[in-house]
């Protein structure tokens, strides 16, 4: 848990007021609690919270955290160590009290002074951790502690309602009275208290009564933990109090959009220098598409400091670089952060006569935009939108190597603020399709009678995979990139086969597909006396397919990108062998969502196996899980097929 500091009229009062001592408020455990060895409400849990409490006062800045935990298994003992992060300049931790109660009722009070340890310090900010560990904890113990923290400048609580552990009883209380919410003397802190409860379907409500807020809950389940979940901000229950300038969501977003657009336009100001630059990039006869492409190519050539090195003020001064106040400065510096470059693209496109707009989205790897959370701090990265032939094209020039018309996956299906002909608005970027994110893999393999293989493989990547490796190339030298690529590939090849790097094609041209060529060798087939058995799906025989082991699902599924794999593998047979069987034709379709096709052909000399896998969704609700599970079960089974080669000539020694 943490509290956010806030400058308000309570500063002096809170600074001067001593923290009231913690009262001896530890609870007498019940006989049932003492003898409890397992919790039917949390089967298999290593610990459960019997009580969890936080009370906060805006006026006094006093935050009190209380917990009572039953340890049910060895792992749960670790909860005896408590870490309280705090900024010593703004907060102090007082009155730490704790005790351990054994199952027989024996009490062991916390007698060791908590340790105050530096966590991080720079010139402007310091964070410490106060750490203590409760004594003599054993399986069956109840751990109980209470900590008071005084925040000099008041507190706006942030309650993480869920934890990794089941909670029997949870109580959160915030007294916002006298917190200075409202208009101050100069009107610059027109502060309304806002409350954010997430996710929207969470079964919790906040009781509000004349400036006092309470959340009381029983039987709070542990926070979800499944593979391929969307960002936790959509899943974990929490309540956040914050200050805003209005009590109406509509008013807030209307005003925030206007402010955002005004500030964006201020940064986007197109001056003569930029008009000249844009005119030099395009020709008068260029189509809208040609102009958009040429400008895109030009800004991608600028130094993107997200991938190099952000210059300090001293460096900028020495390099005679301008302080970046608008996009003209970015252009003059020929360098900038990804966001600045994205906005520069918008400005240059406009200077070339195109309709172009800026958009700032929530990075989907971090969070999903939530309109009930009245804060523009949700927004992360800038992208560009350009209109070509009346159609809007979404571009990601801040991502250095993103091809024209492709968004980095963290910016696809992402919501944020955008400009438009009708003014600023909240909008969502389009999703990729499986055609955007594809990998075509071909291999030409020569088998010998012992099952050893030599050959080459070629992987042609587009979309997310190509962007990933190209961005790796920006941050590493080619030698390191080759090693990373091979390590990644070797982890997926059939056991016993390894790849060595040959070369990459198209690394420097982000509009082209990226092709990797590797050499392959090792033991692929398993010989028996009469046969040779070879994995039929070379690139997938060792693949780890998701979802096959889990029959049920409680959370939505976020697979980041759609995808397509197109494989074509030729196995040249050793002399003295004929094909006994090859992978069966597979045609598994999940209409509108995914398909798998496997087809094999063979002759006396070779077996050729083609595989197409396409998945055309990114996000799914848990209600679709049965279909998803069923599809992946069939996919996993089909990918395990073998090629059986029968020996036609006798072999020595057998």
């Amino acid at each position: 848990m943490r509290g956010s500091c806030l400058l308000c009229s309570a500063v002096l009062a809170a600074t001067l007021a001593p923290a009231p001592p913690v009262r001896a408020q530890f609870q007498q455990p019940s006989a049932e609690e003492l003898k409890m060895t397992a919790d039917p409400k949390a089967p298999g849990a290593s610990a459960v919270y019997l009580d969890r409490e936080e009370t906060d006062s805006q006026f006094t800045g006093l935050q009190t955290i209380y917990a009572r935990i039953k340890v049910l298994a060895d792992k749960g003992k670790e909860l005896a160590t408590v870490t309280i992060p705090f900024a010593p300049e703004y907060s102090r931790v007082d009155n730490v009290q704790g005790r351990t109660i054994h199952a027989d009722g024996t009490i062991f009070p916390l007698s060791v002074k908590p340790e105050d340890l530096l966590d991080y310090r720079n010139k402007y900010y310091q964070q410490n951790n106060l750490v203590f560990t409760l004594p003599n904890v054993e399986v069956g113990s109840i751990i109980e502690y209470r900590v008071q923290i005084v925040h000099k400048f008041g507190i706006l609580p942030y309650w993480e309602i869920q934890t990794p552990y089941f909670i029997h009883k949870e109580h959160n209380y915030f007294n916002a009275k006298g917190g200075g919410f409202g208009v101050n003397g100069r009107g610059t802190f027109a502060g309304f208290l806002a409350m954010f409860v997430t996710p929207q379907n969470a079964p919790l409500s906040v009781k509000s009564d004349a400036g006092e807020y309470t959340v009381d809950l029983a039987d709070v389940p542990p926070q979800p933990d499944e593979d391929w979940m969307p960002p936790m901000n959509t899943l974990r229950w929490r309540v956040e109090f914050y200050q805003t300038f209005t009590d109406s969501a509509q008013k807030f977003w209307d005003s925030a959009l206007k402010s955002w657009s005004k500030d964006t336009e201020q940064f986007l100001k197109v001056k003569q220098t930029l008009r000249d630059a844009a005119n030099a990039m395009v020709s008068p006869g260029d189509s809208e598409e040609q102009k958009a492409h040429k400008i895109y190519a030009a800004v991608l050539k600028l130094e993107n400091t997200d991938y190099t090195h952000v210059k300090s003020d001293a460096e900028r001064k020495k390099d005679k670089l301008k302080t970046v106040n608008d996009i003209e400065d970015v252009w003059k510096n020929r360098s900038g952060a990804g966001d600045s470059i994205a906005l520069l693209y918008v400005g240059l496109a406009r200077a070339a006569g195109l309709k172009a707009w800026a958009m700032q989205v929530v990075n989907r790897d971090r969070a999903i935009f939530d309109a009930t959370y009245l804060s523009t701090r949700q927004l992360d990265d800038y992208i560009a939108i350009v209109e070509i032939g009346g159609k809007e094209i979404y571009l990601d020039p801040g991502e250095k190597v993103c091809p024209f018309g492709v968004l980095h996956w963290t910016h696809a299906l992402a919501t944020g603020f955008r400009q438009s002909a009708a003014g600023p608005k909240v909008a969502m970027t389009p999703a990729d399709t499986y055609r955007t994110d594809s990998v075509e893999r071909t291999a030409d393999l020569v088998l010998d009678a012992a099952g050893n293989v030599t050959g080459t493989a070629r992987m042609v990547m587009s979309g997310a995979e190509a962007i990933y490796w190209r961005q790796q190339a920006l941050e590493n030298d080619p030698n390191a990139l080759d090693k990373d690529f091979i390590d990644d590939l070797n982890a997926t090849l059939p056991e016993g086969v390894s790849a060595t790097f040959d070369h990459l094609v198209g690394l420097d041209n982000s509009d082209s597909k990226l092709m990797a060529i590797v050499k392959l060798s090792g033991g692929l087939g398993t010989p028996t006396r009469k046969r040779l058995i070879v994995p039929g799906l070379f690139f997938e025989s060792r693949a780890s397919h998701p979802f096959v082991a889990e029959a049920k699902r409680s959370t939505p599924i976020d697979m980041h990108i759609p995808e397509m794999q197109l494989d074509d593998v030729v196995y040249h047979l050793p002399q003295g062998y004929t094909v006994g069987s090859a992978p069966h034709t597979a045609d598994v379709t999940w209409p509108g969502s995914a398909l798998l096709r496997i087809n094999s052909t063979f002759s006396a000399e070779q077996v050729q196996v083609a595989r197409l896998f396409a998945r055309n969704f990114t996000l799914l609700g848990p209600g679709d899980y049965n279909n998803l599970h069923d599809f992946y079960l069939k996919l996993a089974a089909a990918d395990q097929q073998q090629i059986l080669l029968a020996r036609t000539a006798p072999t020595k020694g057998h």
């Binding site: 160590t81 028996t528 395990q640």
Partner: protein, 669 residues
């Protein structure tokens, strides 16, 4: 990405933050923002050309020089000057840092950068950060080892490819420290490096070398010695499989000063052991509560072994691993009474309480500093370089219980049982695999000495697994696996149980099984964990794998080795570093697969029989009626092989891998 500007509605908050932050006095750069000129040593270092052998490195250390100035009380002031040239984009992360604890002080720390085009910058206050240290435990977010030590890190300005970073620092070292471990090898090459030791008049020193021939120093002034080393290649183990720990392979020199410093290695080990024993003196003194507890534990114990089991298992089961180390607390344990009261501590604390409880029942035991990375402690290089503390328990002369396997004999013939109380799951008498084959310092006062830790017989470790399965005509495999894990292997699985709840356990086990059976569903999972650590841990689980076998016309192909892989293929190229076999042990597996009705066995894989000095492997598949029976025994006899045996090892492991992939061909009648 960072926003290029601060949106207006957040401006008030940003303003408040700036207001609250205040202005701090510059402490690193020149006063009033004026830079110090690049010092002459840096100008000299700048002339060093990038060596050819650094071509594939991300950066190269052109110059690294330590000067240790020792005062009359033996306290050191350390000055370091270092020049690093960034060669590749990923080399930007080679920053300079200085660590300091509560009893140490950084006197100065400055940094300059000279860019590829010759511009010079000096780091400002804002480029320095201090970070605390700590080690996360197995449970996310909960640390188990915290320290008061901090590290000051400089983020150099203009840190880009082609730039050279020059760092100069001076630090007053903790008063109790009498040893400098000079790491003469890094992950990147070092073109030129030196260490100077400036002793008070008549001062003594001794040096020892690990993975590097000794270098003779030059006496550059009276009692002032200088060692120099040129062209040290980087040690990069990234593409080398099954290698020993990096720290065990990296070259280093240890230098000690003070009256105890001795060039005689035995004498130096003795001095280090004496120092450890003195430091921990009286820490294990038993309190009345400890004495009472220990005596209660051993009451009725029929023999020496039973006494040991009672006390060691008490420590293993009841003392949590957690500590906050303050200054010398990195070496010195807490008093036994405190550890007993709180029931938590680190390796030194657990050893202390164990010594204390043993002492309370008349058994003598000693501290033994070690490293849990085999090969770091080097018998020929006396040093306190290590990361762990274990216990050496003195055995009575007539004690010959065969369950006490981890026994070493000191030079005087006294036998000691080696035990690691921090390993909460390996029973007394046995020894965790990570310690076997290494060295430890027996800190027994004047009898202190370095001892080789034993490599135990394979019978002391391993597993016995059996599976009974039924195969359906559609390829579905269902069945039950029963497994026993014992010795350190059993300890590992007990630790897995300790740090997981039911859900995590099931998920982890399912993932583990899915490595061999990708579509597996665990139908049940059960374990039996006897209280006595010496008894094997039992796992019982049943599973369904929908497509275990694959149709090929009228044939059905099924792998005979169902679960678990032992193969560790090394890379197929010349090898220079030893092969780390991990642990000795014996792993036995038996699988019976009932064939689908109407099918008979057409072919089975050939048996494999390998026997070498380091390992043996015997595997065979037989068909009995309508059942396919697979059985293998894999025995590892050594923990490490020299690099010269790489081809033998590769052949052996290739045969293991081939056997694990072996298929039976079933034919429909």
């Amino acid at each position: 990405m960072k926003n290029p500007f601060v949106p207006r509605i957040e401006f008030a908050f940003a303003l408040a933050a700036v207001f609250l932050a205040g202005v701090a006095r510059p402490a690193h750069a020149g006063w009033f923002g004026k830079d110090d000129p690049l010092p002459s040593w840096a100008l000299d270092a700048a002339k060093t050309p990038t060596p050819a052998y650094a071509d594939h490195s991300s950066a190269v250390i052109l110059f690294d020089e330590y000067v240790e100035t020792i005062d009359a009380q033996g306290r050191a002031v350390e000055r370091e000057r270092e020049a690093i040239r960034i060669l590749k984009p990923q080399g930007r992360h080679h920053d300079c840092s200085v660590s300091y604890d509560v009893d140490e002080k950084i006197n100065s720390f400055r940094e300059w950068t000279v860019t590829a085009d010759g511009k010079t910058f000096q780091a400002k206050d804002t480029d320095f950060v201090d970070v605390g240290g700590g080690e996360e435990g197995i449970v996310p977010g909960i640390p188990v080892l915290l320290v008061t030590e901090r590290t000051r890190i400089v983020h150099p300005p203009a840190e880009d490819v082609g730039a050279t970073i020059y760092c100069e620092s001076e630090e007053q070292i903790a008063p109790w420290n009498r040893e400098k471990v000079w790491s003469i090898q890094s992950t990147i090459p070092i073109a030129h490096q030196a260490l100077e030791l400036d002793l008070p008049p008549g001062g003594h020193y001794a040096d020892s070398w690990h993975q590097h021939p000794p270098v003779q120093p030059v006496e550059v002034a009276p009692d002032h010695w200088r060692w120099e080393i040129d062209n040290m290649h980087g040690l990069d183990l990234r593409d080398i499989h099954v290698h020993p720990a990096w720290r065990a392979l990296a070259a280093r020199m240890s230098i000690y000063w003070g009256a105890d410093a001795s060039t005689d290695k035995d004498a130096e080990w003795r001095a280090l052991g004496q120092w450890t024993a003195d430091l921990e003196a009286h820490r294990p003194d038993p309190t009345p509560e400890i004495t009472a507890e220990a005596q209660k534990l051993v009451a009725g114990a029929p023999d020496f072994y039973a006494k040991l089991v009672a006390i060691t298992e008490y420590i293993q089961n009841n003392i949590r691993y957690f500590v906050i180390e303050r200054g010398i607390g990195g070496f010195q344990a807490h008093p036994a009474g405190e550890i007993y009261r709180n029931r938590y501590g680190d390796c030194k604390d657990k050893t202390t309480l164990l010594i204390s409880m043993l002492q309370a029942v008349g058994i003598e035991a000693f501290y033994m500093p070690v490293d849990d990375r085999r090969g770091v402690v080097d018998a020929n290089a006396p040093s306190l370089a290590g990361n762990h503390m274990i216990t050496a328990i003195r055995l009575p002369a007539d004690e010959r219980d065969p369950r006490l396997m981890a026994v070493v004999a000191a030079k005087d013939g006294t036998r000691y049982l080696i035990f690691d109380p921090t390993d909460e799951r390996t029973p007394v008498g046995n020894l965790p695999s990570y310690l076997q084959g290494g060295y430890g310092l027996l800190a027994a006062g004047p009898l202190s000495q370095v001892v080789a830790l034993p490599v135990l017989d394979p019978a002391a470790n391993g597993a016995d697994e059996s599976g009974t399965f039924a195969l359906a005509a559609d390829g579905t495999l269902t069945g039950q696996v029963d497994a026993l894990y014992f010795g350190p292997e059993g300890g590992n699985f007990r630790s897995f149980l300790k740090f997981t709840d039911d859900k995590e356990r099931r998920e982890a086990w399912e993932s583990f099984v899915a490595e061999d059976l990708p579509g597996v569903t665990l139908d049940s999972l059960r374990f039996v964990q006897p209280d006595a650590l010496s008894k094997p841990l039992e796992f019982h689980f049943s599973l369904t794998e929908p497509r275990y076998a694959h149709n090929a016309g009228t044939l059905l192909l099924a792998r005979t080795h169902v679960l678990g892989s032992a193969a560790r293929l090394p890379e197929d190229k010349p090898r220079k570093v030893p092969i780390n076999l991990g642990a000795t042990g014996r792993w036995r597996e038996r699988y019976d697969i009932a064939l689908p009705p109407g099918y008979v066995v057409d072919e089975t894989p050939d048996p494999v029989d390998l026997d070498t000095d380091f390992a043996s492997y015997h595997a065979a598949t037989t068909a009995k009626g309508n059942t396919l029976h697979y059985e293998r025994v894999y025995t590892v006899r050594k923990v490490e092989l020299p690099a010269s045996r790489a081809e033998d090892f590769r052949k052996f492991e290739s045969a293991v891998l081939d056997d694990e992939k072996g298929m039976a061909v079933l034919r429909k009648q």
